[in-house]
């Protein structure tokens, strides 16, 4: 049997290459973070990334959380009616939004929107030697390109998610009050009644981690892209796929840390 067909060897090779990539990404992350905290800083570039990541993602995040809040109210109402627990709808909406849906949905949306754009931009700069040119002009590409993106993404995602929380709860309220005939005051009361600080805080912590992961994957894959337009295309795809997977994995781990202790 030819070596390449041996299934065990294939699995082994795959596993080793995953380990190697994980190591490379970890090293990249450590070096990127260390450049975030050492001068020179580029406030102008951080601001531009804030606009790009935070401000321009508002419509996408707003729409996804609005409809998620609405559908959540509808689903839980029809489901809970089976055991006469319709009163829990408001609580379910607010807990699901703040703890899970707003951070995960915003993270995935931003991964698609921003992570892809970062990988494409940095990847193009790599293959057209612009990153080399930066180095010859006494500018560290980690500080100039990567640090502003990491900083802006890590800070702006929690803000986006906080807004998403509010919009999602509002979506649930609209469906609850106007379609399911809840009393507006009762709905609001039961929304805040069982909500605890940790529900919101855990969601915001998740958002910060997700923002970091999206920017890290976008930058890592862009920075290491090779070989023309095809390489940049592959980098873009990889950035979105790995960021999405990492978001879901990190989501579980953070939930476990916050609530399963």
């Amino acid at each position: 049997m030819p070596r390449r067909m041996n299934p065990l060897a294939t699995i082994g090779r795959g596993f080793l290459s995953i380990l190697a990539t994980t190591g490379r990404i970890a090293l990249f992350a450590v070096s990127a973070v260390s450049h975030c905290v050492r001068p020179p800083f580029y406030p102008r570039l951080v601001l531009r990334q804030f606009l790009e990541i935070g401000y321009y993602s508002l419509p996408v995040v707003g729409l996804t959380t609005l409809f998620s809040g609405m559908v959540l109210a509808l689903q839980s109402y029809t489901g809970f009616a089976r055991f006469s627990a319709e009163g829990a709808v408001a609580t379910v909406v607010v807990l699901s939004m703040t703890r899970e849906l707003a951070p995960v949905l915003a993270g995935l949306m931003v991964a698609g929107r921003v992570g892809a754009a970062m990988a494409a931009e940095i990847g193009t700069m790599r293959v057209t030697e612009q990153i080399d040119a930066l180095t010859t002009l006494s500018t560290n590409p980690f500080k100039y390109l990567i640090a502003p993106r990491l900083i802006a993404a890590t800070i702006s995602l929690p803000i986006l998610v906080l807004i998403g929380d509010i919009i999602g709860v509002f979506g649930g309220y609209v469906v609850g009050v106007y379609k399911l005939d809840f009393n507006a005051a009762t709905y609001i009361t039961s929304t805040v009644q069982y909500l605890e600080q940790i529900d919101v805080v855990s969601g915001l912590v998740k958002a910060g981690v997700f923002g970091f992961l999206v920017a890290l994957m976008g930058c890592y894959h862009g920075f290491n892209s090779r070989g023309g337009a095809q390489g940049v295309g592959a980098a873009t795809t990889n950035a979105v796929v790995t960021a999405s997977i990492l978001i879901l994995v990190a989501n579980y781990i953070i939930t476990e840390l916050f609530f399963a202790g």
């Binding site: 931009e121 700069m125 057209t128 030697e129 612009q130 080399d132 040119a133 930066l134 180095t135 010859t136 002009l137 006494s138 500018t139 560290n140």
Partner: protein
């Protein structure tokens, strides 16, 4: 010209996988001297420049800049030495997110902390030297023709008045008259301002004009180096074939003849 060379390269080796590109290369560039490296496409001329400037790490060998070996030096020390260099990239490598003037002024603002308005004035001045007027300075690089991009790139390379300037095919893609303007500019940078120049070109007219010395790269080594005046009487078949652009000769191009 002082006795110790500005750049001294000994036994430089660089491979990509099994492909050997530089195979024990030796080269000296004196202080204030202008050396032109000629050689076929894909022989490793750009790789040579990138090894010297520190964008690629050679596999082995010595590269001394002002007598200090830079191979294997840690990043931070290498960065300090990099400030002595300016480089014109073969593909231009302009930052397409910045307007033309910021491209040219980039090094001034980054390395020398020149304030923006002042850096802008210098940029406009450097652009004028490469034959581009002030209107161009606010355009984005993607709005320029290939030859204009090349000239902006040249202006960026010389904007910080570096001690050592690398020109990777400075005249490729320019019309003959503009090519000569660029040649004059390179001569001015090296002869008049005293910078050390290392250029790559396929354009023999340009080589004759800007070079003090010419070195020919073939199969990973410098097979001939000498003053530009001796290039026609080098007695080297490879050099003769190259400078006269003949398909027949000792250098065999990897193409199938029908």
């Amino acid at each position: 010209m002082s006795d110790s060379p500005k750049i001294r390269i000994r036994d430089l080796r660089k491979s990509f996988g099994s492909k050997v590109v530089l195979d024990g290369l030796d080269l000296d560039v004196g202080d204030g001297e202008s050396v032109v490296v000629i050689g076929g496409s894909g022989t490793g001329k750009s790789v040579l420049l990138k090894c010297i400037i520190g964008l690629m790490e050679p596999d082995s060998g010595i590269i001394e800049i002002d007598g200090e070996n830079v191979v294997g030096l840690p990043r931070s020390e290498r960065d300090a030495i990099m400030r002595k260099f300016g480089m014109l990239f073969q593909g231009g490598a302009l930052f397409d997110s910045l307007p033309v003037w910021e491209n040219v002024a980039f090094g001034l603002m980054a390395a020398k902390h020149v304030p923006r308005p002042e850096a802008r004035k210098v940029a406009v001045d450097k652009l004028a030297q490469v034959g581009l007027n002030e209107e161009v300075s606010t355009l984005s690089p993607s709005e320029l023709s290939g030859g204009m991009q090349k000239r902006v790139s040249l202006a960026r390379a010389i904007a910080t008045d570096p001690e050592i300037i690398f020109f990777d095919e400075p005249t490729t893609g320019l019309d003959p008259i503009m090519a000569d303007v660029i040649n004059d500019l390179i001569v001015k940078c090296t002869r008049e301002l005293g910078a050390t120049g290392l250029s790559i070109t396929h354009d023999m007219a340009s080589a004759r004009k800007i070079a003090d010395r010419v070195a020919m790269l073939y199969q990973g080594k410098i097979i001939w180096a000498g003053p530009v005046a001796e290039i026609d009487s080098s007695g080297n078949d490879y050099v003769d074939q190259f400078i006269h652009g003949r398909a027949e000769g000792p250098i065999q191009m990897a193409v199938r003849r029908g």
